[in-house]
Each structure stands twice: as structure tokens, then as C-alpha cells.
């Protein structure tokens, strides 16, 4: 139902169920917000979104107030602007003012508010808080001094991810945001998904970074540097350079990485093809023996940590396959290095991922063998973009190049690991071949491509009637697990990605507070799948030659040694 309201002297249409903020946004009228998160219930805490409504004494927070017929609203009256400005100045009064050195310099919502509201002098002097940073997590760096207590991280972690690692601690001017007992994040129930980083308006939450380590490796002539790029990177990186969201710049990206000084450039999609081939084999053998089903996917390290701390009894049901990043890392040390006449010790192995949990994964004890780590350093999409800018590389002037041998080719199945449901589609393709000896012709599975948080697909392959479930957004996994614990048996394979939309929505992706480009990235992945000729992981030519010359076959002794892993029950402050 539409009706009229008056805003700044003009009549606009509003819908019955809208909040004032929604009605304004729908009509292109911008009101600044801070504590508000789209699609979550408004909290009304920060009062940055206040507007003047005729007949009301106080200012009204637009985000939490329902729109009413014939309301007369002023969104930018002097009174409103003054209130917002004072509000911002108060937030700045105890802020560390080290913008020049801050992670979010140029992409900070507090900076933007101060700029938009024309804050040009310091009117309020608050006592600067002396909170220490929390470096305890392998993925996340918390800097509470920069926190402006908007509470968005708390709400995302609690209401969307349903982890609830963070909460307000204390009250009044001593309020902080932190995990239980204000201890290190490493002891908390945080699964490192990074979704809190994506909503933090300032630099209070960011990924853990080690820029010096990388610079040392890149400039040490004795060290050979190798980088692998997640399937997601090529359809995301362009955004960081102002290009169209979803634009695929795979070749340009490889060329830019070589310009940065990396000696070898690989595509993690190759690792994904390898992982799919191994995991389909593992799954098929569980099917044949009817054991340890349903099987859960294992490529999302945030999901793995969740399983370890919440469902240790289910760990046997999780695929023992390492993730594509770790598989490719292990191959680089154990296959590529000897082939290239190098020792694994001389290789510095880097990966670029849309994810911050991958940092944690690379540091898992199980990922180091005889002192050699599969992957030494993980960069996020954001960090990689910054590195490219730092080195003055103009992405638009770079000629595309191919990734390196011996892992040069990939299928679009591997590429589809970037999106929720993509892993399952890829698995089904390879599984079909394993079970029937023939390729499936039913390639596109629409049920698995929807934007829903939970998807299911049932299909008969050969003898087997199989059920596949896909979860994205870790907050959606618990209902499925409890259905299974209550006896549901029609599901055999479960893909879990901790981030909404899958890795295209990962916690290491570009932070645009106002845009959401996840769909554009996913679309681009599906377009590649339509366009390219190899759509089956197991048909990847480079992969086949790695099997012929090294691994022999999926599940072989060498595969088990290098490509599989174990999990452990984990005690955390739940």
C-alpha cells in the first residue's frame, strides 16, 4: 500500500511497512546512519539518522521509526544537521586521530561523517582511551581504541552468524566491545569469518597483516616466491580499482602479480579441481560402504573451526580433504619444488584469498609437515589490491598473462567454489563420472544457484538416490544439523560456507559500506561456466598429468600423505 508523505517540501510515496529510513532511501534521499544494518531490526542506538518531523518535539531516528501517512519530514534542517554534527564531534572527542596511519584511511565511515558534516575543529576534548590492540587471533586484529561502539559487529556476529563472540562490556564511558572476559579473540568462539570486519565503520576490526614478512621474501634473492589466487579473486579485484563489479580480470591479475615480483603465479582453481576430484572419490567410497554419512565439506576453515568447537561428535563426518589452498600449497612444496630443482625451504608460499579464516587455516598445526608449512602467508583481496597500488601498477595498462605450469589449466567447476552451491555442482559432475563412467549432461542446477541461505537438491546418479544440502552463512547450519541429529537420512552431502553467498561474500573482500557486489561476482562465475569448454574438475589436463606423473590416483598413498588432514576438538569460551 502506497501513500504520500512530505519530505523537505516535496511529496513522495511511502509504503505501509516501511521505516522512515527505507522510504527516504527508496526516494533517493540520503540520511547518514551508523548503528543501522540493512535487513536487521533497527537498534536506534546511535541517533545519527535523526530527522525532524512536524508536530514532534524531539528529533526522530529515521532507521527505527515507522513511516506514517502525511508525515512532514525535514531531513537536512539546520537543527538536524547540528544534532548530527555534535554527535559526530562527540564520537571524535576520544578517537585516536591517527587516520594517516590507519587501515581504513580513505574508507572510514567516521571520517566520511566528519567530512560530510563539515567538522573542521575540535570542540570537545574527551580523554583518549588507552585500550591495547588484541593480536591474539591468527585472522583478526582488534583495535578497541578505534571503536565507536556502533555495535554492528556484535549484531552481525550474533544475529546473522549466530556465533556471538563479541558483546558490549561494561558501561558508560568505559564501555568496550570484546569477547567474553575481554580476553584474546583466540580463546573466544570466534570462527574467523570476518563478517564483523565487513561492517566495522572504522579500523577497530581488520584482518591480521604481516606486510614486512612479504616484503622481505619478495626482496630476498635467495627466496623463490610463489603466489596462488583464489577462484574468487579474478572476479573481485577489479572493484578495488574502480572497474565494474564482477569484471573478470584473471590474466591481468597474474601479470600484475609477476610485476610485484612473484616468481611463480598459480591459480587456486587448480587446487579446487584437485580437491573436488579427491573429495568426490572420498564421498563415493563412503557411499559404497554406507559409512559416515552425511559427509560435510571441508574447504571453509571457519566452518571447520565451528565444527571443532560446537560439534566434535560430527568431525568424523567432515571430509578429510584439505582445502584447495592447502592442497595446492602442499603440492607446491612436495611436487613443484623438486620438479623445479628447488628445496621447499627456499620457497615462500603466499595465497590471495577473499577470506580471513584462511589465515587461521594456514597456521593450523596440521598444515605443517616436518617444519614446512603448506602456505606461509595469506593475503586478503584488500591486502593484495593495496600491494598492487603500493607498487604503482596501473591495472588498466597491464597485458593479460597465463598462470604458471605445471598447474596452468583449470575447469570452471573449480572456479565455482567461489559461490555457494558451486562446490556441490562441481562435486555432482565428478561424482556422476565416478559412479556411471559417463559425463552428466545436466550441468546447470538451478536449485543450487538461488540466493537462499539453505538449498537442497535431490538426484539419482546410477544406483544411488542422493540428497545434497548447501548452507551459506554459518548461522544457517544449526537447524540443518539438528534435523540430521533428529534422524533425517535423505541428505548425503552437505556443503557449508560460513559467509553469506559463499566466498564471493567473504570477510577479506572489498569493503563498500553502501554497495553490495556479491551478486555481480557470482554472476560472473556462472558466466564463465557457460562460456568455457572444460566444466569438469576431473578433466583438467594439468591435473591429469599431475596424477599420471606424481599422485597416481585419487586417494592414493601420496594423496593421503599430502592432501588430507585431521581435525581436533577445540575448547573455546562459548
Amino acid at each position: 500500500m502506497l501513500f504520500d508523505i512530505e519530505v523537505n517540501g516535496k511529496t513522495i510515496k511511502a509504503r505501509r511497512e516501511d521505516t522512515l529510513l527505507m522510504a527516504l532511501e527508496r526516494n533517493g534521499i540520503k540520511v547518514p546512519t551508523l548503528c543501522h544494518i540493512k535487513d536487521l531490526l533497527p537498534s536506534g542506538a546511535c541517533r545519527m539518522c535523526v530527522v525532524e518531523v512536524e508536530g514532534r518535539q524531539g528529533l526522530i531516528p529515521a532507521c527505527s521509526h515507522p513511516v506514517e501517512e502525511w508525515m512532514k519530514v525535514r531531513t537536512h534542517s539546520p537543527r538536524v544537521i547540528k544534532a548530527r554534527k555534535t554527535n559526530t564531534e562527540l564520537l571524535l572527542s576520544n578517537h585516536p586521530d591517527d587516520c594517516l596511519y590507519c587501515e581504513r584511511n580513505g574508507n572510514c565511515e567516521l571520517q566520511k561523517l566528519a567530512e560530510d558534516l563539515n567538522v573542521r575543529e575540535r570542540r570537545f576534548y574527551g580523554k583518549k582511551n588507552k585500550y591495547k590492540t588484541d593480536p591474539s587471533s591468527a585472522s583478526l586484529l582488534r583495535d578497541p581504541a578505534k571503536c565507536i561502539l556502533c555495535g554492528r559487529c556484535i549484531r552481525v556476529c550474533e544475529e546473522i552468524q549466530k556465533i556471538t563472540a563479541l558483546e558490549f562490556i561494561g558501561r558508560g564511558n568505559k564501555t568496550q566491545v570484546g569477547p567474553a572476559f575481554n580476553k584474546g579473540m583466540n580463546l573466544s568462539s570466534c570462527i574467523n569469518c570476518g563478517q564483523c570486519v565487513m561492517v566495522c565503520p572504522t579500523g577497530a576490526l581488520a584482518e591480521k597483516q604481516y606486510p614486512a614478512l612479504l616484503q622481505d621474501a619478495l626482496h630476498n634473492p635467495e627466496v623463490k616466491t610463489v603466489i596462488q589466487c583464489s577462484p574468487t579473486l579474478s572476479v573481485t579485484l577489479a572493484e578495488e580499482f574502480g572497474l565494474r563489479a564482477g569484471k573478470d580480470i584473471e590474466g591481468v591479475m597474474y601479470a600484475a602479480l609477476r610485476k610485484l615480483g612473484f616468481d611463480y603465479v598459480f591459480d587456486t582453481s587448480f587446487g579446487a579441481d584437485l580437491m573436488i576430484t579427491e573429495q568426490a572419490t572420498e564421498f563415493y567410497s563412503r557411499l559404497k560402504f554406507g559409512k559416515l554419512l552425511p559427509m560435510f565439506s571441508s574447504c571453509c576453515p571457519a566452518w571447520i573451526k565451528y565444527a571443532e568447537q560446537t560439534h566434535p561428535d560430527l568431525l568424523e563426518n567432515v571430509s578429510a580433504c584439505k582445502s584447495p589452498q592447502q592442497m595446492l600449497g602442499a603440492l607446491v612444496s612436495n611436487h613443484f619444488a623438486p620438479l623445479a630443482g628447488m628445496s621447499a625451504d627456499d620457497i615462500y608460499s603466499v595465497s590471495a584469498m577473499p577470506c580471513i579464516a584462511k589465515k587461521f587455516e594456514s597456521q593450523r598445526e596440521q598444515m605443517t609437515h616436518k617444519g614446512i608449512t603448506d602456505v606461509d602467508l595469506v593475503l586478503t583481496t584488500r591486502e593484495l589490491a593495496r600491494l598492487i597500488r603500493l607498487n604503482g601498477i596501473d591495472i588498466e595498462q597491464v597485458e593479460p598473462e597465463l598462470s604458471d605450469q605445471p598447474y596452468q589449466s583449470r575447469s570452471t567447476a573449480g572456479k565455482m567454489l567461489a559461490v555457494s552451491g558451486g562446490l556441490t555442482e562441481a562435486m555432482i559432475r565428478t561424482l556422476h563420472f565416478l559412479i556411471t563412467g559417463k559425463e552428466t549432461t545436466q550441468l546447470k542446477i538451478q536449485e543450487l544457484r538461488s540466493g537462499k541461505g539453505r538449498k537442497e537438491y535431490f538426484v539419482k546418479i546410477g544406483e544411488y538416490k542422493l540428497g545434497f544440502a548447501v548452507v551459506n552463512g554459518i548461522g544457517n547450519v544449526e537447524p540443518l544439523i539438528s534435523e540430521i541429529q533428529k534422524g533425517r537420512t535423505d541428505i548425503h552431502y552437505i556443503e557449508v560456507m560460513a559467509c553469506e553467498g559463499g566466498c564471493v561474500g567473504g570477510g577479506g573482500q572489498p569493503i563498500h559500506p553502501e554497495k553490495n557486489n556479491i551478486k555481480a561476482r557470482a554472476k560472473s562465475i556462472y558466466e564463465l561456466d557457460e562460456k568455457e569448454s572444460n566444466r569438469f574438475a576431473h578433466q583438467n589436463a594439468s591435473l591429469q598429468s599431475v596424477y599420471n606423473s606424481f599422485l597416481k590416483e585419487p586417494g592414493s598413498e601420496l594423496s593421503l600423505m599430502h592432501l588430507y588432514t585431521t581435525y581436533e576438538e577445540r575448547e573455546v569460551m562459548k
Binding site: 558483546e167 561494561g170 567474553a180 569460551m573 562459548k574
Partner: protein, 153 residues
């Protein structure tokens, strides 16, 4: 100690989030403070993540998270006492004890807490050691007061 924590927790229905505050109060009355174990156990019992239990508990002044010392010193920071210089009193106590407010000394002898109005505004500034009021105190008195308690252990 463990049995007793169990016992207190079992007085309340599992899964009932409304019991949070009464439960924390009971534990504090019994043990004088809330330790980590208590918070984790309460969370498990009423199905509330420990981050929330801790967050809510720290919202209220009444809860303590470290064990009290043998001598528990409260310095009033209410308005009247503030006007009579209670901040410098607090700082002096902190200096003499080498403790910050909210802490307990390593040897467990002293703990220090800053509290709001203790209802003795007429004799501001005031402090209180194990329930015993010291009124109209001056900075110079503090070392002597504390040394008195030191010498009794």
C-alpha cells in the same frame, strides 16, 4: 567449591534466561565475586553465550570479577565526595597500595573499589574498609590508615 556452584545453579531452571541476574547475584553472595568458571557455567545452564553473560554482568556495578582481598577498601566517588576531592583520595590509595581500582593485590591482602554515593555525604570524603567508615579523610591520612591494616596481618 565446585559442588556449591553446582548447587546454586541447580536452583534455577535450565534454559531460562530470566534467571541470569538472580543467578549471578546468588553466586556473588556465596563467593564474593564471579569467576570465569561461574560465568561459563551460568551461560551453559541458561543457554546464553558467555560473551553475553559477561557483557551483561559488567553492565552492573554490583558484580565483581576478582576475588576481594582480606581488606576490601571502597572509596566513594559520589557527587558530594567528588566535590571534596575524592579523586585525589582514590589516586592516593592507589599509589599507597600500588593497585588500580577494581584490582586485588597479588598477596590477596587488599582490594580496591570505587563506588557511588555511600550515604555519608555529610562527612565527605569517605572511604570504607571491610564495612568500617573513615570519614572526612585527608590525603595525608591515607598512608597511615592503610599501614594500620597492613600491620594487623
Amino acid at each position: 567449591m565446585q559442588a556449591s556452584l553446582d548447587e546454586i545453579i541447580s536452583r534455577y531452571k535450565a534454559g531460562s534466561r530470566e534467571s541470569l541476574l538472580p543467578l549471578l547475584q546468588d553466586i556473588q553472595i556465596e563467593f564474593g565475586y564471579l569467576n570465569e568458571e561461574a560465568i561459563l557455567r551460568v551461560g551453559q545452564h541458561i543457554k546464553l553465550p558467555s560473551s553475553k553473560v559477561y557483557g551483561i554482568a559488567t553492565f552492573y556495578d554490583q558484580f565483581r570479577f576478582v576475588q576481594k582481598g582480606k581488606f576490601h577498601i571502597k572509596v566513594c566517588r559520589g557527587t558530594s565526595c567528588h566535590m571534596h576531592g575524592s579523586l585525589s583520595i582514590l589516586r592516593e590509595v592507589e599509589r599507597v597500595l600500588n593497585l588500580k581500582e577494581g584490582q586485588t593485590s597479588r598477596d590477596g591482602r587488599f582490594s580496591l573499589e570505587a563506588v557511588s554515593c555511600m550515604g555519608a555525604c555529610g562527612s565527605a570524603p569517605v572511604m570504607n574498609v571491610n564495612g568500617e567508615f573513615k570519614t572526612a579523610i585527608a590525603i595525608q591520612d591515607i598512608a597511615q590508615i592503610i599501614n594500620f591494616y597492613r600491620s594487623t596481618i
